[in-house]
């Protein structure tokens, strides 16, 4: 029963994919869209069933399908593990997934390859599910690479534009760098514990004494690199902003809600490994904090609406990693969920805006949209408040918990994180004001077509906005349902709802004030003095550095891409030729000898006989007179 349901859960989107690939074009756009949506919705339904079962029974469901890969000291089988974590993840993957599918039906309707778009989306959901419910690291790896592939396909969905293709390629390759790290981690874990299966691994580690901590921390570090690649942390974050080349629903689903959180999922999965590697945890925390700050600063000056959201995603992910690094996995998970809600909502909202403006993404050409696009505006506002950490919106609770944990461990980290959230509030409202308030700055032609998006687009927005608003309820500071629900996962004791003292309240206050300050600054800057960001050419000073993302991309290009290509050219033009000429060299020598030899063959009998006699004498001498 469970097996079949699990298979249904997994294969429904896959069947959708196959159907859309083969028959999508013939059955028409809407139909293919509907089918794609239904398959995901079906998985969502199954997930709900499992959710109920798990939250009642509290016992994970293990499913073995078949042997997959045989290694000398262990074998990897293809199986599923449905426990609290995976089911929780499935909930918002499939839930938000189906919402975004609905959204896309309308959003992508003008695209000739809509059926392919839905096919890819389904494929993505399929791989994401694989990633989440896999019972061992290698099945996770399937999903891990699979979602990477889908993100490649979807970023490059408009494949006639080579820039988009470059972005897609960049995303795939940077992910692959992470994947190598993940693989190395898998290798080390495999050789240390002779298993990749989560359950066995957990017992092996928790049960074992005198573990080889050195190798475990190396493994943990390698795994963390993998997570960096997938979840866009320093130094592997540059692909995510470029990934905005893809259609907006893709950004919402893959690059905000689900795929980019895979790293957090993996680390939470293997929390018992990371608990053994405190150094690595510190690294994670620091990387997370720094990432959140850097990304936030970059987001301050971006003018492309989606770029702002992208950097905000990176920065939020940074906060989650901070939490992970501090061992507060449940907090990270909490923020993942809330973030999924409001960030998906924001992206979809921006999509709705872009849709209304026929593809215009530059905020300098927007404004005053709140009159025509009421629903979009409302939902956008709610989510912005949520992300800025204003109570009682969901973001407040999750972010606040992170800050508290940070404060407990390390004041510096706490400061960085708070600063980041302040900036977050600022740039989010900057975005909001520039987009929806004041007068419309676009062309008259655009102005004439301004309209609120159809219900298929607004419906998901509304749902997500509601979730973004009330999502915080699942883990209230005082009694957290989430912590209780997740507690079986964690080896070490989950620090329970903090006994609330002055510090805690002070921290809360600071956080809220920070958020409000950010909003206030934005308000004064863009409403009071109604500034508009200047044209690219006129950007100067530090803001220019920020606008160009600290020139990290250029740096990487010089350091890696160009050097490798140069090396390749050098190998091709010099090393290869030298090597082959070395082989031909012998041939040349032989030919030269032959040429000289031909002169000896002079044709004169006298000479021939002379050599004859010489040879004779030499032999005689050698044999008889030499002694």
């Amino acid at each position: 029963m469970n097996t079949n349901l699990a298979l249904l859960l997994l294969l429904a989107p896959f069947l959708g994919f196959l159907f859309n690939i083969f028959f999508g074009k013939s059955i028409g756009k809407t139909a293919s869209g509907v089918i794609g949506t239904l398959t995901v919705a079906l998985s969502f339904a199954v997930t709900l069933y499992f959710f109920g079962q798990i939250s009642v029974s509290k016992t994970p469901i293990q499913i073995q399908l078949f042997d997959w890969i045989q290694i000398s000291n262990f074998k990897v089988d293809f199986g599923f593990l449905l426990d609290q974590l995976s089911v929780l993840w499935l909930l918002f993957v499939t839930g938000i997934g189906s919402l975004i599918h609905v959204y896309s039906i309308s959003y992508m309707h003008d695209d000739e390859n809509m059926h392919k778009f839905f096919a890819y989306l389904n494929l993505f959901v399929f791989f994401m599910i694989t990633l989440v419910i896999g019972s061992n690291l290698l099945v996770l790896f399937i999903g891990w690479e699979g979602v990477g592939l889908c993100s490649y396909l979807l970023i490059g969905f408009w494949h006639k534009n080579q820039d988009f293709n470059d972005a897609a390629k960049k995303a795939f390759i940077m992910n692959r760098i992470g994947d190598l790290g993940l693989l190395i981690g898998i290798f080390i874990i495999g050789s240390l514990f002779s298993t990749l299966d989560y359950a066995t691994l957990k017992t092996a580690i928790t049960g074992a004494t005198n573990l080889d901590l050195y190798w475990i921390s190396i493994a943990a570090f390698a795994l963390f690199i993998g997570a960096c690649g997938k979840s866009a942390q320093i130094p592997l974050y540059t692909w995510l902003p470029d990934a905005m080349a893809g259609p907006t629903p893709v950004s919402a689903l893959i690059h905000a809600a689900t795929m980019v959180t895979a790293g957090i999922f993996m680390i939470t999965r293997l929390n018992y490994v990371f608990d053994l590697a405190p150094d690595v945890q510190n690294i994670i925390a620091i990387v997370g904090a720094v990432t959140s700050l850097v990304a936030a600063t970059i987001a301050l000056v971006q003018t492309d609406i989606k770029k702002v959201l992208a950097y905000s995603t990176v920065s939020q992910l940074g906060l989650m990693f901070l939490a992970l690094g501090l061992g507060a996995y449940e907090v990270a998970v909490f923020h993942v969920i809330t973030h999924a809600f409001f960030k998906a909502c924001l992206f979809l909202g921006s999509g709705s805006v872009i849709h209304a403006l026929h593809g215009e993404q530059d905020m300098r050409k927007m404004g005053g949209l709140k009159k025509v696009m009421g629903i979009t505006f409302i939902t956008f506002l709610l989510s912005s408040l949520a992300i800025s950490g204003i109570p009682p919106f969901s973001g407040f609770f999750s972010k606040d918990e992170i800050l508290m944990v940070a404060f407990e461990h390390n004041k510096v980290l706490w400061f960085i994180a708070s600063l980041a959230s302040l900036l977050t509030a600022f740039y989010m409202f900057r975005l909001l004001y520039l987009t929806f308030f004041k007068e419309f700055r676009g062309t008259a032609e655009q102005k004439s077509h301004l309209h609120e998006s159809p219900s298929l687009i607004t419906f998901p927005l509304i749902v997500l906005a509601i979730l973004a608003t009330v999502g915080g309820l699942i883990s209230l500071p005082t009694n957290s349902w989430l912590n209780g629900y997740l507690s079986p996962l964690f080896s070490k004791e989950v620090h329970e709802a903090h006994h609330f003292g002055t510090t805690e309240y002070a921290l809360m206050a600071i956080a809220v004030i920070a958020g409000l300050v950010g909003i206030g600054v934005a308000y004064s800057k863009y409403i009071k003095q109604n500034q508009v960001p200047v044209e690219d050419a006129e950007i100067t000073g530090f803001s220019k550095v920020l606008y160009n993302k600290y020139y990290v991309d250029e740096f990487y290009n010089v350091l890696f891409v160009n050097s490798i290509n140069g090396l390749s050219k050098f190998f091709r033009d010099y090393v290869e030729t030298t090597l082959s000429s070395a082989v031909f060299g012998l041939e040349k020598i032989a030919n030269e000898l032959a040429f000289q030899g031909k002169k000896l063959q002079s044709g004169s009998i006298g000479f021939y006989l002379f050599v004859f006699v010489i040879g004779l004498c030499t032999i005689i001498t050698y044999l008889f007179l030499a002694q």
Partner: protein, 106 residues
């Protein structure tokens, strides 16, 4: 029995014929005219024949002398062929200088 050979000593015969043989060899090496080359070769052969006779006396054994006849016959045959070749060369080239025969080389 005391034949002249024991008094002179076989070695001297050997030396003599070696010298003759060498003269022949040098003749072959240094003369251009094909006829003279022939003659030098004949000297070589005859030097050997001489040695044959000497040895056969030395060993008191007739085989050597018989062999001399063999080799003379052979030499005669060779010269017959050789002269024939020479004649045809002379017909074609009008000279028998072996240094002119360098068409085949390389």
């Amino acid at each position: 029995m005391n034949n002249i050979l024991n008094e002179i000593g076989i070695e001297n015969y050997i030396f003599l014929s070696v010298i003759l043989f060498s003269i022949g060899v040098f003749g072959v090496l240094y003369r251009r005219n094909a006829i003279i080359v022939f003659m030098s070769i004949e000297i070589m052969l005859n030097a050997v024949n001489l040695l044959f006779v000497a040895f056969s006396t030395y060993h008191q054994d007739a085989q050597g002398q018989v062999f001399v006849f063999f080799s003379m016959a052979v030499a005669a045959a060779e010269v017959a062929v050789g002269l024939a070749i020479l004649v045809s060369i002379f017909r074609n080239l009008g000279s028998i200088d072996i240094n002119n025969l360098k068409n085949l080389k390389g």
